[in-house]
């Protein structure tokens, strides 16, 4: 290392100043403008447990994305077979997602095989048998393709959720993937958690379907749902009673248009009642489709279905050109604006579950900061006093190193944008306790060497040299544990691991490098022969 005391002192001072510069924004909020232009302005980042907020772990049900792809592809295949006049019967067992085609003879099965091979590379036959002259073929999505779909579903969900959160207007949200199918969402400072959750967790699949008016709804409700139709419910809230009513509707199963065809969505207030509704605008293709659909189905009812629930089912009065439509329903202003957000951001490719939720209110966070800081300050002062009492001057030198240790630890945290959590504050306090250790080791060594009758100069030299390896080995093993803690931890625990790790590294610097400068200065420049230790 550097021999010259001056150079070493200069290095120390530069490092301390750098820490101060990084720390300054956290200490005071009115920095001069010139500072804001050239120097760091980031405050120490507080974890959710300190500043309040919500932590969510979502699971993308990516298998559902594969299922719906299969459903869509099979539907397409069905139409294709009909077009090509292949005779078949489709046994759909939607419950097990099992699609089995039945063919009356070998010829039609061969035709089917050909079409499947040429046009549907993603599909694969799972079982294929001939019995009593009939062919039975079950289909599924190829494993490789299914894996791709799942991966894409997670990626797309991540993107969609990010869009929604951005539009919701939360500062510094964190949305990161975890593992194969999970997404972590962190929303600092959020107040209306229920609203945020419904905004994030909603699939927001918008579908336009015709109301089936040919068949009887009553029959369908009894369990005889006609083929190709589905029963869906329209939910309405009565303004006066605040009660929700659900009206069943029989819908044509075919989806005419989905939210993919949207270009934009915004909240508007209707002139007559002052009620908010969401006005949507289709993209070019969507507008053409909508124009055609409305033109072909005048006087029929078109249901607007969101996540399986009918929002409204107005009668088409006339062909609608221009690609504009409205979604009405008894919305509150918030509901309407959230709906507009999710429609703009798009639907999730698969439903998501909330696996884990942790919400901390801002007042608890404030309490934690106060108590944690308070406890750390008391602990720090106790240790500083103890060191001076026990080691006198040498203790004072160690104390200087300790204070510097705190400064550097916080400075490094600010510089690396590490997150401070409540266990992290405990970690800082513990670091104080640990940092003393290096100095205790050195000082005890020096004492021993002095007992052996060495001169102060030799004792200090030997003390530092011998203690160094010990300090190094013992701290590295502690680091090993801290690193596993980091790998294991989430949120608050991770914050603890971070402060502990930084604390260990910094304490080695201050306890070994910095205190040595002071000792050397006393011995060489001041010619001190005796020291209180």
């Amino acid at each position: 290392m550097f021999k010259s005391i001056r150079i070493r002192a200069a290095v120390t001072i530069v490092i301390c100043l750098a820490s101060l510069v990084y720390l300054a924004p956290s200490l005071t909020s009115d920095l001069p403008d010139t500072w804001k232009n050239y120097l760091p302005t980031d405050k120490i980042h507080l974890g959710l447990d300190l500043q309040g907020g919500m932590h969510l772990v979502l699971e993308v049900q990516s298998a559902k994305a594969v299922e719906s792809t299969l459903e869509k592809t099979v539907g397409d295949l069905k139409e294709n077979l009909m077009d090509k006049r292949v005779r078949f019967k489709l046994r759909e067992r939607t419950k097990d997602r099992d699609f089995t085609f039945e063919f009356p003879d070998v010829a039609s099965r061969d035709d089917f095989d050909k079409i499947l091979k040429n046009d549907y590379p993603d599909l694969e036959t799972t079982t294929s048998e001939m019995a009593e002259g009939r062919g039975l073929v079950s289909l599924k999505i190829r494993d490789k393709r299914a894996a791709e779909i799942q991966k894409m579903a997670v990626e797309q969900s991540l993107e969609t959720i990010r869009n929604r959160v951005d539009q919701f207007g939360i500062t510094e949200p964190e949305i990161i993937p975890q593992g194969k199918d999970r997404i972590i969402v962190q929303l600092p400072g959020i107040k209306d958690t229920a609203r945020a959750k419904s905004l994030i967790g909603r699939t927001a699949l918008l579908e336009f379907k015709l109301v089936d008016e040919e068949h009887s709804l009553d029959e369908a409700l009894k369990g005889n749902v006609p083929e190709g139709s589905i029963v869906a419910y329209e939910s309405r809230m009565d303004r006066n009673s605040g009660r929700r009513t659900q009206t069943p509707l029989l819908l044509n199963g075919r989806t005419l248009l989905t939210g993919d065809a949207l270009e934009g969505a915004k909240v508007q207030i209707s002139d007559r009642f002052g009620e908010p509704h969401v006005s949507i605008k289709f993209n070019a293709q969507g507008a053409r489709d909508f124009d055609r659909i409305t033109g072909e189905n005048v006087k029929k009812r078109l249901a607007i279905v969101l996540d399986g629930l009918v929002h409204s089912a107005p009668v088409i009065q006339e062909r609608i050109s221009g690609g504009q439509a409205q979604i009405t329903g008894s919305f509150t202003m918030e509901e309407a604006s959230d709906l507009a957000i999710v429609l703009r951001a798009g639907a999730l490719p698969a439903p998501v579950n909330i696996l884990e939720e942790r919400t901390v209110g801002p007042s608890l966070g404030r309490d934690s900061i106060d108590k944690g800081t308070w406890a750390s300050v008391i602990a720090g002062i106790l240790i500083l006093m103890f060191m001076v009492l026990y080691y006198r001057l040498t203790g004072f030198i160690a104390d200087m190193a300790l204070v510097m240790n705190m400064l550097l630890l916080l400075g490094v945290m600010a510089a690396f944008k590490a997150t401070l959590t409540l266990p992290g504050i405990a970690g800082i306090a513990l670091t104080i306790g640990m940092a003393v250790d290096a100095n205790v080791l050195i000082n005890e060594r020096i004492r021993e060497e002095l007992h052996l009758g060495k001169t102060l100069r030799a004792a200090i030299e030997a003390g530092y040299t011998k203690a160094f390896l010990t300090i190094f080995d013992s701290n590295v093993t502690t680091l090993v544990a801290a690193l596993f803690l980091f790998g294991f931890g989430t949120g608050p625990v991770k914050g603890f691991a971070v402060t502990l790790t930084i604390g260990i590294v910094v304490s080695m610097f201050t306890a070994i490098f910095v205190t040595r400068i002071v000792f050397d200065y006393l011995i060489w420049n001041r010619r001190v022969e005796k020291i209180s230790i």
Binding site: E357, R358, K371, A375, L430, G433, T478, F484, G487, F488
Partner: protein, 303 residues
């Protein structure tokens, strides 16, 4: 000031047998307590479930809170005081999807107590899937930290030192678990963090003594290892106690003033620190000797 004079001559190695017996007895009590309590008292992080911290404006009887929770279908919720007018409610329920749960809680509380009479300070919902994941991750983290330390100490010192260190670490973790179970504390993520920290601290202490043993055995090749160990433990005794004392002091302050959120965390650390000092002095080093007598081939000392 010196608490401990440099010249102590305590025969730690001879005390090893009784020390091991004491430790085994304590751990046996711990196992008994675990059986008595029907396994560790897993918090929602591992078992899955819901934790709700509520602060009321005024004193609210527990019965009323329990009734409110029962009305929303949370059977068998545990209600625990957590400071003035503040309670923690735990239920095993989490549901596969946490979307609805919190709004249900809010609805029931506001019908029972009125809006504004309470404040939801913290809500944690952990689904069973995440709970299982976290359990696995926690066990792996502890296990691999042992392996990591075993390897590092094995490389820097000798393998039998590493074994001694690991035995001491396992000891510390077991003792801490014993006390957590005796006081019926909950095992959550913070406790795992505490256990890993204890591992880090305890090995730190142990390494300092090992380092001294290594140094002394280089200096006095003729001296039997037993004497070297005794000398080394004695020589480092003041440092061991001093450092542990400062850490312990910090922990005490955190325990009393750090707030209830990290109360159990500091409790575990307090126990672990004591266990750590104890194992460092009485267990880790004598074990090295034990491995030496078992395996006399290990006699050659590193130069």
């Amino acid at each position: 000031m010196e608490i401990i004079k440099v010249e102590t001559h305590i025969n730690f190695v001879r005390m090893m047998k009784s020390a091991v017996l004491v430790s085994i007895a304590v751990i046996a009590v711990g196992i008994a307590s675990l059986i008595w309590h029907g396994g560790p008292n897993f918090g929602i992080d591992f078992a899955g479930g819901t934790l709700i911290q509520i602060k009321f404006q005024q004193e609210t009887p527990t019965d009323k809170i329990r009734a409110a929770f029962k009305s929303m279908g949370f059977e068998g919720s545990i209600i625990q005081d957590f400071g003035p007018n503040e309670v923690i409610v735990r239920t095993a329920e989490s549901g596969a999807d946490a979307k609805e749960l919190t709004s249900r809680v809010e609805e029931a509380l506001s019908t029972a107590f009125g809006k504004g009479a309470y404040e939801l300070r913290r809500i944690e919902v952990v689904g069973p899937k995440v709970g299982r994941d976290l359990t696995r991750k926690a066990l792996l983290a502890i296990f691999f930290s042992w392996i990591g330390i075993l390897i590092y100490v094995g490389v820097r010192f000798e393998f039998r030192y590493a074994l001694g260190g690991i035995v001491a670490l396992i000891h510390d973790v077991l003792i801490t678990i014993t006390f957590l179970s005796l006081f019926n504390k909950e095992f959550d993520l913070n406790i795992v963090a505490a256990l890993l920290t204890i591992i880090g601290f305890s090995i730190n202490d142990t390494i300092v003594i090992f380092d001294r043993i290594r140094e002394n055995s280089r200096k006095n090749i003729r001296m039997p290892l037993m004497d070297i160990i005794n000398t080394s433990v004695n020589q480092t005794l003041s440092r061991t106690l001093l450092t542990s004392f400062t850490v312990f002091m910090v922990l005490l302050v955190l325990f009393f003033f750090g707030g209830s959120v990290i109360h159990d965390f500091t409790f575990a650390l307090l126990v672990g620190t004591i266990a750590g000092v104890y194992s460092t002095v009485f267990i880790a080093s004598p074990i090295v000797l034990l491995f030496e007598t078992i395996k006399p081939t290990g006699l050659k000392r590193k130069r």
